[in-house]
Subunit: 457 residues, 4 copies
């Protein structure tokens, strides 16, 4: 059938085959890096201009000319109008060419004391920095939606399960806030990934530094990084590894959301009917007229596998390549960006689904068969003085005596920290607020720093 | 920085967010399936028209009208002119709409006794069938290039290594033909995947069949499948699983090629200098003027990790979804197609690189330090009557006596099957020829069958 | 707390640390290889004795002495009485020492023209050969149990699901036989792995052959392999790769069983109550007196992840090691053996659970809400002449008219191949029988060959 | 051959098969948890005894009796004399039985308001806490060895590579300290895992709390945790997830060490000869008398794949199991413990190998072919005023002018932060010292807290 296209490749021109194989998707993916690359070049040029005797490399007025031009490219990039063609190969060459076209020899000077690896490494850190903060905010938003849902239904009984089997009295509030708390842990992993990312690799060049007295700490500071990488080869070796650390944090976030989605699928099945999913997030069938399927939730489940496989892919790429820069690392870019985007979209759509989800009190109460109260009864016997193992056997031998317990009362009775009537919503919400505040403050700090750098004329 | 785009999504229209999240890349990926979908619809309509009393469903002339129209769409698809928009969602709806636009009610009838799942399942099997045969041919081509290289340098000594350390006398011929033989094993895995794929799922509908006396075996036969799936739910359950089996075979193929690439990188380093890579497959550096890097080979290594992670992704998607159709399976399509394409491109470019690679006899001989002959010497003592463990210790204690052996003689002396002077090139080449012949015969058989189906007016 | 043990290691004797790190679990794992190693040595000695002029290497009477001693060791091994200590390192040295203790110099001669890598490679193939046949039989046994269950409940309606939501009328017979058919596909993968494994690596030595005119084809034949590996370096390169191919086939088998287990967990939840699991395969809770949990099925699910991770581990080991033998391969042995054992145990216990599972007709029928009949109704309208898309919309607009359909009638009406009333049980059972027959014939063939070899005095 | 053992299982007693399948390795693995379980029980009993009206549950004197007995069991455990049999199933039941044997009804009371899941969750956190601190110290020790090696050879030139090809002048000091710095990042991941682990799950019971006013914060404080988990279901959901987070941090640590090992293998090959590995960490060959193989380093590479696969296994287990406790989680224990142990052993043995490694100055200098100086020369032209792209092309066109540069001078010239002559060893060592200090302080803090708890009579 359509073998045509690919077999043509074989007989084609050697150079085009090599170009196709080596360029990969870079020229498309790099659209996301236009701003980062401009900002990085501005910082590099500013540093060069301030070197003792640096005027020969870059005068102050050259720096200003360059930054003005970079600002223009950034503006084009923001409007989606800066093009990167397959011939450009990547954003770095595309910008260098645009600069040279405008500024002549001055454009050629920007690559002084810098390699393309340097730029990729820096651009990815700037991109990661921005995306990680945004992901923290997205995750906090989902946690907020869950917390709100939990508060609303804090007193609504829901059978707690172990082994998927009915186990003990629980509540919708406990169920939902457990996922909110789960996300708080994931957010800590995202912050740790943020810290790992928060140092400037620039000045590593081809991994071994340059024979010029550049000021790597100054560049780091101009860009708002906490510090410069202390060892240039380490800076190179972090490529790929850093992406895999960030994707691992994204995977853990997806894992929490995937289990939430799985529970939502299960408990909205007609056999349970605990939850009603907002209809606008469900879809029909091409052959079954009656269907209303939780497609979004199923995709969340599958995309968790996807983000995890992206993380594993990048880990494997690093593992099978030796130290120092290797071309293998280019292949990390696509899974890296895709993994982040999937995670963010998933968090956003899930926040909306949770906000729109409704409960069915009657169906939730109907789930309380007498045996759900067995453990509570045994523990009451214990409180009355019977050793636990005896109480356990007593209740096991008299399971039929358990009818008629009240689920609402059962969940009111558990008052210790973290139990159905001991949920510390205020503490949870304070944490969520604190996280959002911290992420926004960091965003503003960076914007101020970058703003100052780019307006330094 | 550019958080703009994604945060806008959040406040956007609900339906567009859901559509974006659920549609995924289908509408782009499905361009590869235009022909398969036309062929599948033609077979389905032909079968309906032949049902007893089927005239009410599809008359012979309706079938002919439909097939003529499908032929036209196929032709557009081949020229890359059949468009699938994001509103179409996928190739199935795009073609149904195109048919309905031309044929009115007749277009609407094509979905009789068939679901979209049915179509996806079938299209992917038709796609996989074609791609697997092409991959077999690509792999055979690389095996052929390796075998040719091996024959040319059959008598050229090369130090054999274990633990990456020099170990025993070997030859370029042994080294290269080992990879050719390795590919033969991978090709067997591709054939097994082909057999797993070689039955028609059509008629499974939404996984549970239809209340019409359709002839599933007839459809299978019209499409040139070996048989129809014997159980409709099994047909549905094979979705995803089949893709993961095929990608596992692709991964094993990549694994062989990756180790070949790794050896080529190693042995063309200046410290070895055994091989000279064809310069047109190497690339330079943006900062180091002298560099000539084996980028293609490094990308082969990294893309092996990629194909493997695609296989694992699909496995995980299947593992975390229950039986029967689930939307999760949509996510298998992208890694499936990407994995196949990467594998094929890699085989093609490697066949060319191997063909263009040169050897350096002097450097190869220089690798033969005296200790490389130690084992051979010990075994000669054994042939003279000394127990092996004693010979081993004798040589170990007298390593300095080993100077002056002749590498060419050493590899001539090993004459048993599979050793440096016992390589059965004729057997190897006969196998490669046989494989190509078989794959081409299968391609022709399918083309004849499809040709007959589509011209059945 | 108990950091004691491990920190002591650090200050310990260097050699013991190295020995502990490098020996790994080999000396324990190798208990499974005693018989294989004896058989391999017998074949190797027999071949040496038959070489032209081989009498100097091994006379006929030496061969007989040796084989008699190997028989004795095999017998000890079968009774679990052949010890391998950590000082022996592995089964190969343990047996060589035992032979030398008994036979003196003759024991030392057995290592002539052979390396330990050779032996490991051979032993693992002999082990894999036996285990693969046994796994095929175990899988066939589970398929048989499923088929029997399916026949028994062929006419028992069960709601068919897509997206986990009720979708269309189906039957217990369709559900169960879909898994039986699924296993048939997995068994084909096991057979392919068997064929990949079915050639003798012996004579590869340290990967590069030996300077003696050994007869590798003869050894292969004595051991009942289909052939000898045609290239000695390829034989070495297959180490690890072969294990990963076998484990991939095991993983696919587990994947089918895992989805079966997941369905059994779901449909035996009280909210469904379709199935009753045999109580002796369920366990209680230490705190909840009423619980009866499907622990075995949950472990099946988790162990599927385990076997898959073993397969991936071995793949990664191979991917990150260069060609020729590397010590990395030792690490493949533990996941290889563990993956096979888990798969076999799982198949065995699941065959018993399926055989003991009961159904609840009333609960199964209760699942048939009217909308389950929607698609069937639409297709009936089509059979009456209405275009499908119109029928679809008609039913969708009149979902409340669907009450009162009869599930039994609904599944009787689907008569085409593979549908609820078109299940080809005879074909399925014939395939299962054929598979078992083939595996048993192969077992007998091998036993005869080995029997002849070991009694060749 | 030896199919005997396993086929016997099939016909065996049902209960023994179930017990074998479900018990898994718990009873062996749990030997590592004796101390943790005793400590956890002591804290639980202390808390119960302090409840208002808790005297009925546990009087002060009962608590003291119990703790005295737990101390005795701990002591046995430390001496390796506390046995857990397969009938005990796990450490929790073993200790409960031992207590009941000694203390009668009092032993039975210890399970009040607590489930086995509670205990497993707690024990694993106590185990993880201890192991994570020890791993931090092990990693710091390897970083120290690398830093010392780097200082010793700070001025020793070594060709820096990209794409494995010679690229630019570098030094042994830069190479070694890059790995030391790499480990510092990994240690941060270990600390983050430590923080994730640092809250007490106790009081979650079967995931839903208990109807008694237990004081979960008090237990957390008695055990030295930073806090109690704020939500009991979240505490349960962290099982498996936490293990996968810890194993992911271990995997990243192994990844750094694996690349170090790979470089050591490469640069100690005779073709390079840069490094001489300490002979006592290398091993010979059974067939090649001359061999001296870097087996330890190869095993490090393979075990990195192993630890990563353990992390992925646990992730997959969590992903495919629903929220609340599921038996699947038992399967996480073995890879969790094995992954930690492998990582620690690897760090320990590598610290010793690095300390014992020697360099060969002559071979290192011999690697400096003229083209290695090309980039430095281009940048010098830039410093003299030539635009970089022009300088790049000038040097590229005159590669033969580069002979005669001095490597020592070349690495002296690079003085900026992180370059060959700008390595901040003092900063690096201060960080390593600070890490060790912090880990040891935390160990002491915990020991004091536990000491107080266990001597509270």
């Amino acid at each position: 059938m359509s073998a045509g296209k690919q077999s043509r490749t074989v007989v084609g021109d050697i150079n085009s085959l090599v170009l196709e194989y080596t360029a990969g998707q870079d020229y498309k993916l790099d659209r996301r890096l236009v701003e980062a690359d401009c900002v990085g070049s501005a910082a590099h040029a500013s540093m060069l201009a301030e070197l003792p005797g640096g005027a020969r490399l870059f005068s102050i007025s050259e720096r200003d000319q360059l930054i003005a031009e970079l600002r223009a490219i950034m503006e084009l990039g923001r409007r989606g109008e800066f093009e990167i063609t397959v011939d450009d190969q990547d954003v770095h060459l595309a910008i260098e060419r645009a600069l040279t076209a405008k500024l002549g020899d001055l454009g050629k000077k920007i690559h002084t004391a810098r390699s393309r690896n340097d730029q990729v490494a820096l651009d990815l850190r700037l991109y990661a920095r921005e995306q990680l903060l945004a992901t923290v905010l997205d995750a906090a938003e989902l946690a907020r939606a869950l917390s709100k849902f939990a508060r609303r239904y804090a007193a609504l009984p829901m059978v707690g399960r172990t082994h998927m089997q009915p186990a003990m009295p629980s509540s919708v509030g406990l169920w939902a806030s457990a996922f909110a708390e789960g996300l708080l842990g994931d957010i800590e992993l995202l912050w740790e990934a943020y810290r790992q990312n928060d140092s400037s690799p620039l000045g590593s060049a081809a991994s071994y530094g340059v024979p010029l007295p550049i000021k790597r700490e100054l560049v780091a500071s101009l860009l708002g990084f906490k510090s410069a990488e202390r060892n240039v080869l380490r800076a190179a070796n972090q490529r790929g590894k850093l992406e895999s650390i960030i994707l691992a944090a994204m995977s853990q976030t997806m894992l929490t959301v995937s289990r939430l989605a799985q529970d939502m699928i299960l408990f909205s099945m007609p056999e349970f009917g605990y939850f009603k999913l907002p209809r606008e997030y469900c879809t029909g069938s091409s052959i079954m007229p009656q269907k209303n399927n939780p497609d979004v939730l199923e995709l969340v489940r599958a995309r968790t596998a996807k983000v995890k496989s992206f993380a594993d892919c990048v880990f494997a790429i690093v593992q099978s390549s030796p130290s120092g820069y290797n071309r293998d690392l280019q292949e990390a870019k696509e899974p890296f960006m895709a993994g982040i985007e999937i995670t963010r979209q998933t968090l956003q759509i899930m926040a909306q689904m949770v906000s729109g989800m409704r409960t069915d009190r009657e169906r939730l109460l109907a789930g309380f068969t007498p045996d759900v109260f067995a453990t509570d009864r045994a523990i009451e016997l214990v409180a009355g003085g019977m050793p636990f193992r005896d109480a356990y056997h007593h209740v096991k031998d008299n399971l039929d005596e358990l009818a008629g317990e009240d689920p609402c009362e059962a969940i009111r009775k558990k008052t210790h920290l973290g139990a159905t009537n001991g949920l510390d919503f205020d503490g949870l919400d304070a944490d969520i607020r604190q996280i959002s505040k911290q992420a926004r403050a960091e965003q503003r700090r960076i914007q101020r720093r970058i703003g100052k750098l780019m307006s330094s004329t």
